[in-house]
């Protein structure tokens, strides 16, 4: 909170309002120390913070690029092949889209009356899936926005009341979970490519009898889905059936307070690094080997809750 006030005071002198934004949605409030020309080229790490900000860093240099403010409760993030970043705001019941290195949203999806917690972009079609908690409604859902715009198609599930996690695979199949929305136990639903309804799917774990708990999120690592539940568990789903593949142990002191993001510059191969929040910062690990963290960011972060990586034009 202190850092926010200092920023706003500084920006107020430059003409920035210190109160809530007049228009619904976030506004840029920070000055970048990284030239725009550089920021557009390099990979950027977007971090949703519990202080209602989203901080943006260069992925490899770990330099603060921007602080995006004006959110109510920023939660899960995702990015598409162009580098556009989608930030869910559970409090505002909206999803904001930013261009890579952009300072203002280029589009806003009205997700009301639901509370969006996570998202994923279908690499095959460009559709945006949003994992919704009930919000001011009675039941959450998976909202799929064709081409990341317009009115979504809503998918509800008989087992899962509220959704907190979702991820597309490379072919356009979607795996989703209630995460921790209904207590500690976590369940999964699968929306096959071209499917019209969610299918409950049992995912086996590393032992013959296994109950999933405390799932933070789901990611696609280029080859497998990764269920983020203290350790990272790789699973596969085929013919409507789940298979356990393997795990990655991330050495952390007390578990992660939010979902990880897998850094992957070759979508058809497995990612090579993973980033995830801890109380007060973001850690980096090698993937899939895991083990001890290899780097961290703590400057400018209060209570990180989620993150995504937007790939820069350097990879084009």
């Amino acid at each position: 909170m202190m850092r926010t006030l200092v920023l706003c005071v500084a920006l107020a002198a430059a003409g920035c309002s210190t109160g809530p934004p007049d228009v619904i949605g976030p506004a840029r409030t920070s000055q970048s120390v990284v030239p725009d020309s550089i920021a557009k080229k390099v990979d950027l790490l977007y971090i949703s913070d519990g202080n209602a900000e989203v901080t943006v860093y260069t992925y490899w240099q770990k330099t603060l690029v921007n602080t995006l403010t004006g959110f109510t409760q920023p939660e899960g993030e995702c990015s598409d092949a162009r580098g556009d970043v989608f930030i869910t705001d559970a409090g505002a019941q909206r999803v904001f889209e930013y261009a890579h290195a952009g300072k203002e949203p280029i589009a806003t999806l009205d997700d009301a009356p639901y509370a969006p917690y996570a998202c994923s972009v279908n690499p095959a079609t460009g559709a945006l899936a949003v994992a919704n908690e009930a919000g001011s409604s009675s039941r959450g859902n998976l909202a799929v926005y064709a081409h990341a715009s317009g009115t979504p198609k809503l998918y509800t599930d008989s087992t899962i009341k509220d959704f907190q996690a979702c991820a597309y695979d490379g072919s356009g199949n979607l795996l989703a979970s209630n995460g921790q929305a209904d207590g500690r136990d976590s369940y999964f639903a699968w929306l096959p490519k071209n499917g019209s309804k969610l299918v409950n799917v049992n995912l086996p774990g590393p032992q013959s009898s296994w109950t999933w708990q405390d799932v933070n999120g789901i990611q696609w690592d280029g080859r497998y889905w990764v269920v983020d539940a203290y350790y990272l568990y790789r699973v596969s789903v085929a013919d409507g059936q789940g298979y356990y593949v393997g795990e990655t142990q991330l050495q952390t002191f007390s578990g992660l307070p939010g979902p990880v993001w897998i850094y992957n510059i070759h979508p058809k191969e497995q990612g090579t690094q993973v980033v995830g929040p801890y109380e007060g910062g973001i850690d980096y690990w090698n993937y899939p080997s895991g083990g001890d963290a290899i780097a961290e960011i703590s400057k400018g972060i209060d209570k990180p809750v989620a993150e995504t990586v937007s790939l820069g034009k350097i990879h084009e």
């Binding site: 019209s196 109950t211 539940a229 596969s236 059936q241």
Partner: protein, 335 residues
Amino acid sequence: MKHQGAARFALSMGVVAAFLAAGCRGLQPNPATQTVSAAAAGPAIKITNAWVFISDPGSAQVFIYTLPRLKLIEIATGFTQPQGECSDDKGDVWVTDGAAKTIYELEHSGKLVKQLSDAVGAPIGCAWDPKTGNLAVMNFLGSNSQGGAVLVYHHGSGVPNLYYNPKLFNYEFGGYDGAGNLFFDGVGTDRKFILSELAANATQAKTVKVSGAKLHTPGMVEWDASANDLVVGDQNCSNLSASCVYRMTIAKNGATISGQTNLENAEGRQVCDMIQGVLWNRSIVGSDFDFCGSGSSATYVWPYPVGGKPHSENAHNVSQPFGAAISVRPMRDSP
């Protein structure tokens, strides 16, 4: 996450009310009584002593139906994830269970005969070799992020021998021809369909080039001895959520598609996802795992090779049906 105790397995029979009313007492099935029940279903239908076993991992059960009417006879329970199936000449049905890493052998009545452990992966499909009596099991995945394999259990017991096609990652369904050659499908690490052959006495499987159509998602594989061709299913025919089966002529230089059978529901819509069906008496018997439309999953008997709408249908039991196998009642049990 938390770990639960050891998985329970106790195969039991759930006998449907109609069957109880027909005179069956207790939990032991009565095939003779069931044959009478099937005959009463309609005079135009030829009575058979064949039943179909439909695995349903959605309910962790195996449903046993008469053919061709698809009247429910038995429900075998106690599975974790029953998937692909195959049968032998005794009328026994083998059921793979990927989560339990076990293959169960059930007799015609559905009673458990024995079980095989799969220590190296997750079994998803099987095939029984009429020439040798061996049982081949396809593992979808191996351990520690490794790909699958073919396991061949000599005479359906003991410790299996493992076989691989180096180009294959996920192994799925298979079938033997009359000469002891095993054909099986799956996908490579790039998720593209691959048909493979493990020739009799070979130590390594090879890829079979398929010409005439592009297959997308592996489905049933079965040798049709009457037509001398291989029947291979595609769960995503033409890359759509629609299932079909292809007839393939096998030659030294590969497989050539000679025909296609589309499978429809009673409304005439191509079914969403038949994962593993089985040939029977100029029909295909299998189930549609329907996640595409507003209908429910169901089990069907389709005319083959014509395809189209089904001869019969049962949409009352299955939730996420997977595999199918035919069990012909042993002659010694005939009334």
